[in-house]
């Protein structure tokens, strides 16, 4: 993109504003204005521009999603707004300092936990906890009752809890 210049960035913005905008809106839309959300989305593309050489081929969508989440969550923090997703809390045993998982370990354990789930349940977890889609949206999109979505989220959380915290105490 760096070599393609600002035209290339324009093409990326055309193509991905819908995607990035949806993630940002899912996270801050209930508490902030459209102008705030547009500011966050523009920061996402600006970050991409500054780090274009670090984005691996084929990973652009994932990179944008990750920056979108992080920027939108920061925006809420800056405004001291605390928004809870449905069923977002997981009881974690208080780990001793030496057994507290580092970021890299958390990422690995999360991958391991998600691998244990059937693909459809994994998608539901990612849609809710990564994309911040509501259970009602997920239910509508994939055509299953909302209660079933909630049950599958509960099962997914249980699988996560078992793997993430099994060695924490």
């Amino acid at each position: 993109m760096r070599t393609g210049g600002e035209d290339a960035l324009g093409t990326v913005i055309d193509r991905y504003t819908g995607y990035v905008g949806t993630i940002v809106w899912n996270i801050i839309g209930s508490a902030m204005s459209t102008a705030d959300a547009e500011e966050v989305v523009s920061e996402v593309f600006y970050t991409l521009w500054r780090n274009a050489d670090k984005v691996r081929p084929g990973s652009l969508r994932g990179y944008l999603a990750s920056i979108a989440r992080s920027r939108a969550k920061n925006k809420l923090r800056e405004a001291r707004i605390d928004l809870y997703l449905e069923d977002d809390l997981l009881e974690e045993p208080d780990p001793s300092p030496e057994k507290r998982l580092g970021d890299a370990e958390r990422a690995e354990y999360l991958r391991a936990a998600l691998k244990l789930l059937p693909p459809r349940d994994r998608d539901i977890l990612v849609r809710h906890y990564y994309y911040y889609e509501t259970t009602a949206q997920i239910s509508q999109d994939i055509g299953i009752p909302r209660e079933t979505v909630k049950t599958r989220l509960k099962q997914g959380r249980e699988a996560l809890r078992k793997i993430l915290f099994r060695e924490a105490v």
Binding site: E6, L9, G10, I13, D14, T17, G18, Y19, V20, G21, T22, I23, V24, W25, G29, T34, A37, E38, E39, V41, S42, F45, Y46, R61, G62, A65, S66, R69, S70, Y84, L85, D88, L89, L90, E91, E92, P93, D94, P97, E98, R100, G102, D103, A104, E105, R106, A107, E108, L110, R111, L125, V126, Y129, Y130, Y131, E133, Q137, D141, L160, L164
Partner: protein
């Protein structure tokens, strides 16, 4: 203690499902805002007043002081115990796997580590002696040593031997009196991606260590990291440019009767 599942997903880097797109975000407005960010010009709607600028200057100065204190504190927040050294090493090994340097699923536990000690022996990123932790480990499948810099938290030396899996066919079997028949294995795939060349590996190490280039002093950069023709791959000396310009680092890949081995790091025998 409660953890938010959505925060755990900050670490998610797997496959992403389709997203039903829908938001009031206007692509034209986003382009305008990105244009302002690119030109460095503040948004007209947000042009600060002189009073606001003064306020920001005071805040910036305060933040600078806080950052300086934090930076000092971070510098001081070194690896202080063996447990921290093991935990930091596991995080770095995971980074190395993510960067494609390693494939080995090596995860250290205190029980696996027979020697964990802080040392001041090696010359590391700069030409000075720096503190580090030395760990000797044996997890059953993997054994070896590693050195992790006490301050930077980077692994600066790593040696891993992977024993072959049960039933794995030997690569070479030789009669070695007085020991009789001995077998060598080419299970390098337990350690790293065997399609990597020396150049591929050096580039990844450069990125990991934060160097801005390298040159091969002995060996062929285009050759595979593992030499399929010989059971012993001679040492490849690599000069990394950057903090260690002109100083040799090295990479060594071997096969022993105990399994395949890779070793790389800063040449403490020369440094």
């Amino acid at each position: 203690m409660d953890t938010r599942v959505s925060d755990i997903f900050d670490f998610y880097d797997g496959e992403l499902p389709e997203l039903a797109e829908g938001s009031p975000i206007d692509c034209g407005n986003v382009k305008k805002l990105v244009g302002q960010l690119l030109s460095g010009a503040p948004s007209a709607a947000k042009m600060p007043t002189r009073r606001k600028l003064m306020k920001w200057a005071v805040i910036a100065a305060a933040v600078l002081v806080l950052f300086s204190i934090a930076a000092f504190a971070k510098q001081a927040a070194v690896i202080e115990s063996g447990e921290e050294a093991i935990s930091a090493s596991n995080a770095e090994l995971a980074s190395m796997r993510k960067a494609g340097i390693l494939k080995a699923g090596l995860l250290l536990t205190p029980e696996d580590c027979t020697y964990v000690h802080d040392e001041k022996l090696f010359q590391l990123f700069r030409d000075s002696s720096e503190l580090c932790w030395v760990i000797t480990y044996n997890t059953g499948k993997y054994s070896g040593n590693l050195v992790i810099n006490t301050v930077s938290g980077k692994i600066t030396f790593l040696n891993i031997t992977a024993i072959p899996d049960k039933g794995e066919k030997p690569w070479i079997t030789k009669n070695c009196p007085p020991n009789g028949l001995l077998s060598w294995y080419d299970n390098y795939g337990d350690l790293f991606d065997t399609t990597m060349t020396v150049d591929d590996f050096c580039e990844k190490l450069c990125a990991y260590w934060g160097f801005n280039g390298y040159s091969i002093a002995a060996g062929d950069g285009a050759a595979l990291l593992v030499n399929p023709k010989g059971i012993y791959n001679s040492r490849t000396d690599v000069n990394f440019t950057g903090d260690r310009a002109g100083r040799t680092q090295y990479i060594e890949v071997n096969s022993f009767c105990s399994g395949a081995e890779i070793m790389f790091g800063f040449d403490h025998s020369k440094g």
